[in-house]
């Protein structure tokens, strides 16, 4: 679970009359946020306790297939460049259709919300958007090739 999501949940609990909030996700992870009284003596204050736990999966997870040639490796990253990584496993496409122009080329400027590529998994074509402004320095994945979770896809020089 992302820190941002936890922060949002904490905010919900803080601003509400709820004493404790527990969320169980389908894959077994549990988050419990409880609003209690912490500290001793006269300096009592309201505190938030966060417990996250993942229950044992029913089956042992199988290996995701990673072809040797595409094993995620630290990208050649000189200086202050930012990596944009694959948020999921799937097939990487640089364009919306085989004959179409790519969404982005090396040297192009990007801004938040700009579509960079598609990652397809299970016939779900997911457009990946940029989250920062800058310039694409390098495209690290090949069109039509499988990518792994967190594999670097683009190197971006952030706008100053």
């Amino acid at each position: 679970m992302r820190a941002r999501e936890i922060r949002e949940l904490v905010k919900i609990v803080e601003e509400s009359q709820i004493g404790e909030l527990e969320i169980t996700y389908w894959w077994g992870r549990k988050v419990r946020i409880s609003k209690g009284i912490v500290g001793t003596g006269s300096g009592r204050s309201t505190g938030i306790e966060i417990v996250t736990a993942a229950s044992q999966p029913a089956v042992t997870p199988l290996p995701h297939h990673t072809p040797a040639a595409m094993t995620p490796a630290p990208a050649d990253n000189p200086g202050n460049l930012v990596e944009i990584k694959a948020p999921m496993v799937g097939t990487f496409y640089r364009a919306p259709a085989p004959e179409a122009d790519p969404y982005i080329r090396e040297g192009d400027a990007v801004e938040p919300g700009k579509v960079l590529c598609i990652i397809e998994a299970m016939k779900l074509m997911n457009e990946i958007e940029a989250e920062c402004s800058g310039r694409i320095v390098r495209i690290l994945a090949q069109n039509g090739q499988p990518v792994e979770y967190n594999q670097p896809l683009f190197l971006v020089e952030p706008a100053s």
Binding site: L21, P61, L62, P63, H65, M88, P96, K123, N126, P146
Partner: protein
């Protein structure tokens, strides 16, 4: 108490727009999604001039004889979970067909609907990811209903079929549409329910056209062969290789291997 993403009332089809002709229902809904349209917005067209499938392949969409429907979903899913939508949509279509025509269709990974090995329905989901979360997904369903065999282009005649051809009689398109909306809503309501998802996997596997059969997954220059052993809870394919190792595969060009 806020529970992420679980709809309490039917959401799909809260607003339905019927069009006489459109280039692509998916393209239109996607445009509205980007403009901030509400979840559940559904577009149904009598005809598509540029109906498309995966990688912009043409989906043959002649007037009146098919159902061309796209709906806007805003599920609270992460990128890694999003594949479950493909599974859910194919089951909803299979159930809608079963309830209106009694036909028992089969499913080909990840979400093709077949009857006697020929394609009856295609599903294309287009999502938008921001910060690892799905901000929206447009689910497009193209279902062949009343096409006769001669209505299909030559290249598709051996691969395609329609409900009319499968049942031997014309089928009421509106009835199928209503049933589809009902089943989409029923299943979508269980999207965040672990028990429901396990049940979907079981039902999907019962309807699978190629369980334990040799299959090939092609990805770029790589071809993985093995026996199809089912799907996992996220809808990914389990393929057992000759070495005995079972791989979890989320993407690729999937085909059945000739025996």
């Amino acid at each position: 108490m806020i529970l992420p993403g679980r709809p309490r009332i039917p959401v799909i089809g809260r607003k339905v727009i019927l069009l006489d002709r459109v280039d692509s229902t998916n393209a239109l809904v996607k445009q509205w999604a980007l403009a901030g349209a509400d979840e559940g917005l559904t577009v149904i067209a009598r005809e598509q001039s540029a109906g498309r499938g995966r990688l912009n392949r043409i989906w043959f969409s002649p007037r009146e004889s098919g159902l061309y429907l796209s709906t806007l979903l805003r599920p609270a899913l992460t990128a890694r979970e999003s594949g479950i939508l493909s599974l859910m949509l194919s089951l909803a279509v299979a159930k809608a067909i079963r309830s209106t025509t009694r036909l028992r269709v089969t499913l080909k990974w990840p979400n093709d609907i077949l009857f006697e090995g020929r394609k009856l329905c295609g599903i294309l989901v287009e999502g938008s990811l921001n910060g690892g979360l799905l901000s929206f997904a447009v689910a497009g369903i193209g279902l062949n209903i009343n096409q006769e065999i001669a209505d299909f282009p030559l290249g598709l005649r051996l691969k395609s079929t329609s409900l009319r051809l499968a049942c031997g009689r014309p089928v009421d398109r509106d009835q199928v549409t209503v049933a589809l909306m009902r089943h989409l809503n029923l299943l979508y309501g269980g999207l965040h329910d672990a028990g429901m998802r396990h049940k979907w996997v079981r039902v999907w596997q019962q309807h699978c056209a190629h369980m334990h059969q040799p299959v090939i997954m092609s990805r770029g220059t790589e071809h993985i062969e093995g026996l199809f052993r089912g799907i996992d809870i996220s809808g990914a394919a389990l393929v057992e290789q000759e070495t005995g190792e079972t791989l979890l595969l989320e993407s690729g060009e999937f085909s059945l291997r000739e025996k």
